[in-house]
């Protein structure tokens, strides 16, 4: 209690002003007077009495100091004094302060912003309970990287892998339309087994989640909303639980909202029990080994290790392939992987993010090096001041504390400004991260991120304080002796400065090389020909029937949908500016996940050769003209290719080359094939090839075109059809009138992906562009900072050598020679940095190989260009101080020294 009281009193004492000092002085004075009076009373002479009293007092000043220490908290007062002093000295050199703070802010800001993304996407533990025990199972083959599992496969894995004893959560991705007047929306849904949430370790934020009693036929359909969809669609309405909504043609009860959590491989809006899809309960689904529609996440059994799980799953999988050879075409190389769920969520982002993190850290290093150099130079200029302070009694510890306080102020100011930069940058980065990771929603500048920035600034402050070398204790005398002179800062210090400059140049070159490669990647991507002849095309998808409805083949609904599509097509065609409107699915430049093995008449695959696959796409007679897809051979579809007419197809060039290399495919027959067709509305009947069209970049601008078979729109169920509207002028201007027509014809249908071809193309390029822009700005920033560093160090060297230069010039060296001397001094540093940087750049380029497109990792043009640019900037940076050296007047230079 009394300690608390004393502490409070002392804190209060911190703020006691001059009044307390005056009172103290009066008190001590009174003591002295009384003692003097007493001495006089004892018979001393007044002078002597006072002298004796003073002697006994032990010194009034010392006493006052001791009391003051007791009054407040001396170390805080020392600290505030240091900070006040540091502030004053920084205010005296505003240019230095501004440059340092700004440089640090850029470095810390970039690093902090990217750290916040790296943390959220890669490092932070999953929100799932014991998320580190979750593993993702992935089946893939040469044609597809995610093919999912079939129910019999899941059954085998469950039986044969006891290490996955924590349970196997299954879900299959599906789409459904949430009805609701104008606002009908297609949802990405997951059909889940009752154990799903238990295995995943997810809790509801509202209501309840599904449980085993929701499994099987004959139970009421229920729906759990993901947090994201609940917020975006229902505005976080907490009365949603228990509400009945219409999904497709079912009435479904919303039972709860789950906590925010990422899904993989694709986003999910809501989760349903299986009963909503009769197909999922049907025998085809349950018995078909090739009917792979299920994603798997398993929880490791309590004692099981990742390695155990891998070997068990591999053993089960080998047995499956042996027992059911028909389901695993040997040529396609079916394989299975077991990957930690957290890792799989970050896998697409990992390389890009670490690349950006590396770039940001490089900028950080360069800016720190620059600040260190500035501090070194300033330290030399301040030696005089420090010597004076030392002479006045400031101990070494005190000087160190002063420097630390000053550096702390600088780095903290830098960190503060840096965090502001990061706050702005994070928004940009979220847009980037959304393309790569389902965890982008978790990105935020939170306490950990702020702590990161703070720690960064503390470490920097300490490093900077170490760089500024103070004399060793006891060598002040030599300092005093040299104190009057301008000093060169010693050999050690100069070497350090030079090393820092070399590092700066090298790191800048690495960054610029990376930036150059990414920029060239972006340019080659934008130059990729989409396969379409024009970009003034508007596309919109209107899924009148979902895959679910199409799969159960409701002939009546299909006929109605086709009538509606035709009505939309003909009405939009009459809009002014519209030249032609096509119908089809999916839209050009959109990837399709519906693809099956194909066979062709007269084509046999060599043993071990992968089966050919072709995407399922539909097109009406106008589709290719509207999309601007060139016809290479044969004919387009015609009005005569009716539902009851002969089965015909148009194939793309990629498929033609795959199935009929060196032959004319027109008139030949091809068909989809494979066991899995049984589960789809697509027949394996032979179809006659009537035309060949050019490839289009549907899977992204950097993807190899896949084989495609186009079926007449009239000859296949109309699942997720869309309109391709070609115009003579501005495609974007058609959005409003076209949407109005669609709304009138199908008021309840969702309208999706209303984009011009130019926009779709841009979406494919934009993550790369952002990537390239970020690394480029880092690179340019680094180059500027490095140039300032080179110029600064040389300028400093010149001013330190003024005396020497003066002597040389008075001995007959001309100014040109002096200029060359300084240029050479800087040139060596820049050249050294260049060599190191190009070497580092080669290494970095190898690491980022997979992010590049259309440019070799060791692209000579990029590297030569970067080296030349850096050399030019470096020379310019050297030239400025060199000029100054050449203008030194020898007479003045010698006199000053």
């Amino acid at each position: 209690m009394r300690h608390v009281r004393a502490l409070l009193a002392r804190i209060a004492g911190l703020f006691s002003g001059p009044k307390a000092d005056a009172a103290l002085e009066e008190e001590l004075q009174a003591h002295l007077d009384m003692e003097t009076a007493e001495n006089i009373r004892r018979g001393m002479a007044p002078e002597e009495a006072r002298r004796q009293a003073l002697l006994a007092s032990g010194g009034l000043t010392q006493a006052a100091e001791a009391v003051r220490d007791q009054r407040g908290l001396p170390w805080i007062e020392g600290l505030t004094a240091d900070i006040r002093y540091a502030l004053r000295s920084l205010r005296r050199s505003p240019a230095f302060t501004a440059i340092v703070v700004l440089t640090l802010a850029l470095g810390i800001g970039a690093t902090t912003a990217i750290f916040s993304v790296v943390r959220a996407v890669l490092l932070k533990p999953l929100p799932h309970r014991e998320g580190n025990r979750l593993v993702y199972l992935r089946q893939s083959n040469d044609a597809a990287s995610e093919i999912g599992f079939s129910v019999p496969e899941v059954r085998d894995i469950r039986a044969g892998a006891p290490s996955l004893g924590g349970g196997i959560a299954e879900w299959s991705s599906w789409t459904a339309v949430l009805q609701g007047g104008e606002g009908a929306a297609r949802m990405s849904i997951g059909l889940v087994t009752g154990n799903f949430f238990e295995v995943m370790g997810l809790s509801p934020v509202l209501g309840r989640l599904t449980r085993p009693s929701d499994d099987g036929p004959g139970v009421p359909p229920v729906m759990v909303l993901t947090h994201e969809f609940w917020m975006s669609r229902f505005g976080g309405d907490s009365s949603i639980v228990g509400r009945r909504v219409r999904v497709d043609r079912n009435s479904v009860t919303v039972i709860g909202v789950m906590q925010p959590a990422p899904f993989f491989p694709s986003r999910v809006d809501a989760l349903f029990n299986m009963v909503i899809s009769p197909h999922h309960l049907s025998a085809t689904m349950v018995e078909g080994r090739t009917h792979r529609m299920t994603e798997l996440v398993a929880r490791l059994a309590p004692a099981a290790s990742m390695r155990q799980a891998r070997s068990e799953v591999a053993a089960v999988y080998a047995r499956m392939q042996r027992d059911f050879p028909a389901a695993y075409d040997p040529g396609s190389h079916y394989r299975v992987e077991v990957v930690p769920f957290q890792q799989v969520l970050g896998e697409r982002a990992r390389l890009t993010l670490w690349l950006l993190m590396g770039a940001a850290v490089f900028v950080m290093i360069i800016s720190a090096a620059n600040v260190a150099n500035l501090t070194l130079m300033r330290g030399v200029r301040r030696e005089h001041e420090l010597v004076t302070r030392a002479a006045l009694g400031a101990g070494l510890a005190r000087l160190r504390r002063l420097l630390l306080a000053e550096n702390l102020l600088l780095t903290l100011a830098g960190a503060g400004l840096g965090v502001l930069i990061a706050l702005g940058g994070v928004r940009l980065l979220i847009a980037l991260a959304e393309r790569y990771s389902p965890r982008a929603g978790e990105i935020r500048v939170d306490t950990v991120v702020l702590g990161f920035a703070l720690a960064l600034s503390l470490v920097l402050a300490i490093l900077l304080s170490l760089v500024a070398s103070l004399p060793k204790e006891g060598t002040f005398a030599s300092w005093f002796a040299a104190g009057g002179h301008r000093m060169s800062g010693g050999l050690r210090k100069q070497r350090l400065q030079r090393a820092l400059v070399v590092v700066q140049v090298a790191v800048s070159v690495v960054l610029l090389a990376g930036a150059g490669l990414l920029t060239r990647t972006m340019i080659s991507l934008s130059n990729v020909r989409t396969g379409l002849t024009t970009e003034e095309i508007l596309t919109m998808q209107i899924p009148l029937l979902t895959l679910g409805q199409a799969a159960i083949s409701d002939p009546q609904a299909d006929v109605r949908a086709k009538e509606q599509y035709e009505l939309m097509r003909s009405e939009i065609a009459t809009l002014p500016g519209v030249s032609v409107v096509g119908l089809g699915s999916p839209m050009p430049l959109r990837s399709s996940d519906v693809a099956f093995d194909v066979k062709a008449e007269g084509k046999t695959f060599a043993p071990g050769e992968a089966a050919a696959t072709a995407e399922v796409r539909t097109a009406n007679p106008e589709f290719f003209r509207a999309a601007g897809i060139p016809l290479l051979a044969g004919r387009e579809f015609a009005a005569t290719d009716r539902a009851d007419g002969a089965a015909v197809v148009i194939i793309n060039q990629a498929l033609a080359e795959r199935l009929f290399p060196g032959e004319d495919p027109i008139g030949k027959r091809a068909a989809w094939t494979g066991d899995v067709l049984r589960f789809t509305p697509i027949s394996g009947d032979w179809r006659t090839i009537v035309g060949v069209v050019a490839n289009t970049q549907d899977g992204g601008l950097d993807a190899r075109p896949r084989g495609v078979m186009f079926v007449p729109f009239s000859q296949l169920v109309a699942f997720s059809g869309g309109l391709v509207i070609r115009t003579d002028n501005d495609a974007e201007a058609l959005v409003a009138p076209a949407t109005r027509i669609v709304r009138r014809i199908a008021p309840a249908a969702p309208i999706e992906n209303v984009r011009t071809i130019a926009q779709i193309k841009d979406e494919s390029v934009s993550p790369r562009r952002l990537n390239a822009a970020l690394v480029s700005s880092f690179g340019i920033l680094a180059m500027i900072i490095a140039a300032v560093g080179v110029a600064g160090v040389l300028a400093f060297s010149v001013s330190a050598r003024t005396n020497e230069i003066g002597i040389r010039m008075s001995l007959g060296a001309d100014s040109g020679r002096m200029q060359r001397m300084i240029l050479k001094e800087g040139g060596v540093l820049v050249a050294l940095g260049l060599v190191l940087g190009v070497g580092g750049g080669f290494l970095a380029a190898g690491v980022m190989r997979s992010l590049l497109f259309g440019v070799a990792p060791h692209d000579p043009a990029t590297f030569i260009g970067v080296a030349l640019m850096m050399a030019a900037i470096g020379t310019l940076a050297c030239w400025i101080p060199a000029r100054r050296a050449s203008r030194i007047d020898p007479a003045i230079a010698i006199r000053v020294a």
């Binding site: 009394r2 009281r5 004393a6 009193a9 002392r10 004492g13 009172a23 103290l24 009066e26 008190e27 001590l28 009174a30 003591h31 007077d33 009384m34 003692e35 009076a37 007493e38 006994a56 007092s57 032990g58 010194g59 009034l60 010392q62 006493a63 100091e65 001791a66 009391v67 220490d69 007791q70 009054r71």
Partner: protein, 113 residues
């Protein structure tokens, strides 16, 4: 200063409290005089020892301070024992007696030099 003893903070606090207990409110000079006299001049208090100790006692709430006129009509700061101070004095005096008895019994009695 040979022969004079250095004084420990805790001991000084106890002496101050006892002085104020015996003499009532007193200024710093009076306290110093009293302690020096009681110690038969074996202790000498310089200001740098005394005043921080007084301030500390004040901060801890064992004594209170007040500006008053001194006996010779000079303004001086008078310190007085608080209730908490009286309690502390009683407790510490008891503890000191016990310790002193114990040490004395342990070392055996010896005439003061």
């Amino acid at each position: 200063m040979a022969g004079k003893l250095d004084i420990q903070q805790g001991t000084l606090a106890l002496m101050v409290l006892k002085t104020l207990d015996v003499l009532g409110p007193l200024h710093g000079y009076g306290i110093a005089r009293r302690i020096e006299e009681t110690s038969r001049n074996r202790l000498s208090l310089n200001y740098g020892t005394l005043y921080p100790a007084l301030l500390k006692l004040e901060q801890e709430g064992f004594i209170t301070a007040e500006w008053r006129q001194s006996e010779n009509n000079r303004r001086a700061k008078f310190y007085a024992l608080s209730a908490a101070g009286r309690k502390r004095l009683a407790r510490e005096a008891r503890e000191w007696h016990q310790t002193a008895d114990l040490i004395a019994a342990f070392l055996g009695r010896r005439e003061a030099p």
